[in-house]
Symmetry: C2
DNA sequence: GTCGGCAGTTTGGTCTGACCATATGGCCTG
DNA sequence: CAGGCCATATGGTCAGACCAAACTGCCGAC
């Protein structure tokens, strides 16, 4: 048989706890907004120590499924939430830093996701969403804006378009992927020979992108977005060429 | 200013520890394969208790950046690794179960990612990778294959194509997104009125997809992949219509 | 009677120290 | 020299205490 043997790796306690809670989520018994029992009650019920339970809760918190709040009242305790964005962002950022992904791979992923975002935004975006995006562009056009803030606004513009596409998942993925290369982009912007010209060029493209989205020209917006992203990543590859190959 | 005030939310100890370790990763001081000092040494150095340190390590383990192994020898201890796939899979699976994402959103994401996978595979896939994909298809064609195993092989086929595209990131994302709807697809397959006919139809499409990839016809493969996925997800929407809307 | 503050209670966060489980390294015996 | 047993290093778990945050509600001052 072609199936390889796998090491059995016996489960640790906190993993069993995690499974138990996950099962409740999959079964629909735990929904967003629900509260878990207090740690001091739940631990003995599950037959584990509080520390083991806490490690499981920490895992759930890490993936944006749970938040904990001390104190009393309706907002206190451990609550089920839906906040995948931070979790995905941290995950991709760290793995990109570790060399799990090559820059070209990130580039392709961005192109694919953002083409979809811009095309969908041209279809579904509300005027308010696009107004917010425009506000970001206006702030980017101020000559006094610094590189760091420009980078921040740039990220938020792309994320705002993704969000306005109405697709939560591609929005989250777009945001996370963009976040993962944020430090790299910041370094590239800082190293730009003629910063005002660079900023101008990006501003022009952003404005045109937003115009196409507003006009409902999804296909054209997608094409320009691809050009926009590829053009910019081109400069990144140049910046990073001393990095060498990521080892297997 | 349009920037909203944010609650300051003072950092918890384990978050500070996490930041400290993350910084080392971003700075390149911690690379894949490196070992962390033993918990009992590292905790006092960081000025925190072992439990707080362990919670931080658990977070890193959750996102696939660290594995821990008890015992002695070169493989023991906490080591930096690059294993994002499980982490991303769990994240999307749980969030999909919680209703963070609508089924249509997942469908669009799959279409976008897998179009790219198939197109890139037609360009870059090695013969061995495609042989492995073919072996999966052969096993899916056996009449005796059960629904669960078919679902498993189907997943692995799509993931194998993604992997053979040479893009680690889209491969991971494809795998995770496919995993997140795996239970749903399983239920749909189980509910199929004429299972052999359903399986046959999918098998034919898979074979044609692989043929196009082998022939290097990336554009055609992408189009067929989109049709393949949309067609199948259509049956899923029908299956899930009792689910109602996901609350905001 | 109302407002403000103070104490009580609930809940997560952290710390300490102990003990258990696992896996290697090396000694010791046959 | 081979096999088994013990020492050691390391993560995993546990128990109990105390700290910190945040709401509840009482109680006194006005």
């Amino acid at each position: 048989m072609s199936v390889e043997w796998q090491p059995v790796r016996q489960s640790r306690t906190h993993e069993l706890v995690l499974e138990s809670i996950e099962q409740r989520v999959f079964a629909g018994e735990l929904k967003a907004g629900d509260r878990l029992p207090p740690e001091r009650e739940l631990a003995p019920v599950l037959g584990v120590s509080r520390s083991a339970l806490r490690e499981a809760l920490r895992v759930l918190e890490t993936i944006g499924v749970l938040v904990a709040q001390a104190g009393r009242g309706p907002d206190a305790g451990a609550r089920i939430v839906r906040n995948p964005d931070d979790a995905l962002g941290r995950l991709l950022r760290l793995h990109f830093a570790l060399g799990s992904y090559r820059l070209e791979d990130v580039l392709e992923a961005r192109v694919v996701l953002e083409r979809s975002s811009f095309a969908a935004a041209a279809e579904h975006a509300s005027a308010e969403d696009l107004d917010e995006a425009e506000a970001l562009l206006v702030r980017m056009q101020e000559p006094s804006v610094g590189v760091a803030e420009f980078n921040d606004l740039d990220t938020r513009f792309h994320v705002q378009i993704a969000r306005s596409s109405g697709n939560q998942l591609t929005s989250t993925l777009t945001s996370a992927v963009r976040e993962s290369v944020r430090p790299l982009i910041l370094r590239a912007l800082e190293a730009a020979e003629d910063w005002p010209a660079t900023a101008d060029g990006l501003n022009v493209e952003h404005a045109e992108l937003l115009r196409l989205v507003r006009a409902g020209q999804g296909a054209e917006a997608a094409d320009l977005a691809e050009k926009h992203i590829r053009g910019f990543h081109g400069t990144l590859v140049d910046e990073k060429d001393e990095g060498g190959e990521a080892a297997g």
